[in-house]
Structure formats: C-alpha cells, structure tokens
C-alpha cells in the first residue's frame, strides 16, 4: 500500500474506531487490510453504502457486519436488547457510516480533498457480499472486537486524466 493510500485511509480507520467506541461503547482494533477479489469478500448481513464524490475522483465506501455484531452494536448504542434487524434499526448502519465519513471528510478536506456529504443507503440479507464499481480496486479494512468483526470497504477511481491521491 502506498503512502498516499495510507494517508487517505487513516481518517476512515480512525473514524471507525472512534465512532464505534463513543457511540456504541465498543473497542475495535484494526486487522490486516486486503484487496477484495471475486472470492474473498466479507459475508455480512447488513451494510451501509455511501457514494464519494470529489472533483478528482469518485467511488463508494461501505460499512458492513454480520447480524450478531450489528445487533450488539445497536444494543450498546441504545441500551436495549435486540433480536432482529427491523426497518427502524437498519438505519443505524447508515448513521454509523455517516458519522465515520463525516470524521474522515473533515480531515481529508484539510489536506486538499473536496469531499461532499451524502446520504447513505442500506442493504440487508444473510451472507451478502458487496460488489463495488467494476474494474476499480476495492480495499477491505477489517476491525475486530469482542462482538465480532466489522468491515469498511473503500473503492475509488480517478475521474480526471491526471490521477489524484489516492
């Protein structure tokens, strides 16, 4: 991974750890990131997806996790016990991604990126994997906790002839 990539991804990593610690009272640690291919995509039950737009590149980020992890996170966030993901609860995934993106955006925009806020969408299903924009590399950033794993996936590609960071 290049230094440019590290500089771009670090605010997202910090955003995941800080958001889930403060909002869901759960300590997450980073695990080894990997590039996603047709066979190694994480299986999740819920994922929030957000389009990234800037003048120089576009892409998507997503936050996904298995059902048990999500129910655990929402339970700690709202101090309740949940046994299933209903429509009301599922937007918790979108909210968490929104907060993570807000954190990253604030830092990256001070470094010359011009990211804009967007409204996430949520997908649900047992054992789903996400497919981002074709032909663009997707990096998976796994995080581990006592509840289990969450996965942040980032896929970007340049929209101008001169490739920007990352």
């Amino acid at each position: 991974m290049t230094q440019a990539n590290v500089n771009f991804f670090k605010p997202f990593v910090d955003g995941v750890i800080n958001t889930l610690k403060v909002q869901c009272s759960t300590e997450f640690k980073t695990a080894k990131p990997f590039y996603k291919d047709a066979s190694n995509g994480p299986k999740v039950a819920i994922a929030a997806i957000l389009g990234i737009t800037s003048p120089s590149f576009t892409g998507t980020i997503s936050l996904g996790c298995p059902k048990g992890v999500f129910l655990g996170l929402m339970g700690r966030m709202l101090t309740e016990t949940f046994t299933d993901i209903d429509q009301e609860l599922e937007d918790g995934a979108a909210e968490l991604l929104n907060i993570i993106f807000g954190h990253a955006k604030r830092i990256l925009n001070t470094q010359g990126f011009t990211l804009h806020m967007a409204i996430p969408t949520v997908i649900r299903g047992e054992g789903i994997t996400q497919r981002h924009i074709a032909d663009a590399p997707t990096i998976v950033l796994p995080f581990t906790s006592d509840l289990g794993e969450v996965f942040l996936e980032i896929c970007t590609f340049p929209t101008q002839p001169t490739p920007p960071k990352p």
Binding site: N18, G102, R106
Partner: protein, 135 residues
Amino acid sequence: MFDKSTRVLVVDDMATMRKLVMKVCADLGFTDVQEAADGEKAWSIINNDPKPIGLVISDWNMPHLTGLDLLKRVRADKRYAGTPFLLVTAEAESSQVTDAVKAGVDNYIVKPFTAATLTEKLEAIHKKRGGAAAA
C-alpha cells in the same frame, strides 16, 4: 437545566439517532418530547403544535430541509425566533460552524457523542440564555 416540562423537538432522518437523543432527554427528566424525521416535518410541528416548542435538537444533514435551513426559518419568524436550537452534525468543518453561528445556533454537537456531552451542551445553552443552575 431546562424546565422538565419544556416541549422538546428532536429532528433527525435516522430513527436510531432520534431514539438515542430522545432517550437522553427522557433520562434527563424531560416529559414532553416530540420527534420529526426531517426539517419540513419539524417546521410543521413548530407551526401547528398548540404548545410552543421550547427546545429544538436537530440533525444537520437531512433530506427536504436541512437542520441549518430549519434553523434559519425558525430565526426568521418572530414567533419562534427565540427558540433554543442545538444542531447535531457529523461534520464540523470551520466553514459549517461559521454558517451555523451566523444563522443563530445556540450550540452544536459533533457526532459521535455521549449522553454526557449532550447533557453538557443543553446545560450550556440554558446557562447562556440566563437560566438558573442545574435543577
């Protein structure tokens, strides 16, 4: 802190975040908490509720009418211009903070936040507006 009978309006397009804020309000002893899923619905409640809204806690980034635009509407209408208004945002870039202050926000809180932080912000608003020490 605010009088516990103050009618509080919690505005957020995300149900889980509304629930979280409303839970904190309930824990603080507020007994009259309304909710709205976006700025337009909030504006309708502010206009039509027989009992005046005494405190607005609103998300910033929402469809239809953002929290900032709701704030501007509230401040522009002399009937509601004095309503205490707390903005909740996932963004805290300096230009946005400046926009919110110019629009007359009482305070803002950056997500993620704890119940303790929300409580502190509400106490700060109450104090700023000349309220007595915590009841």
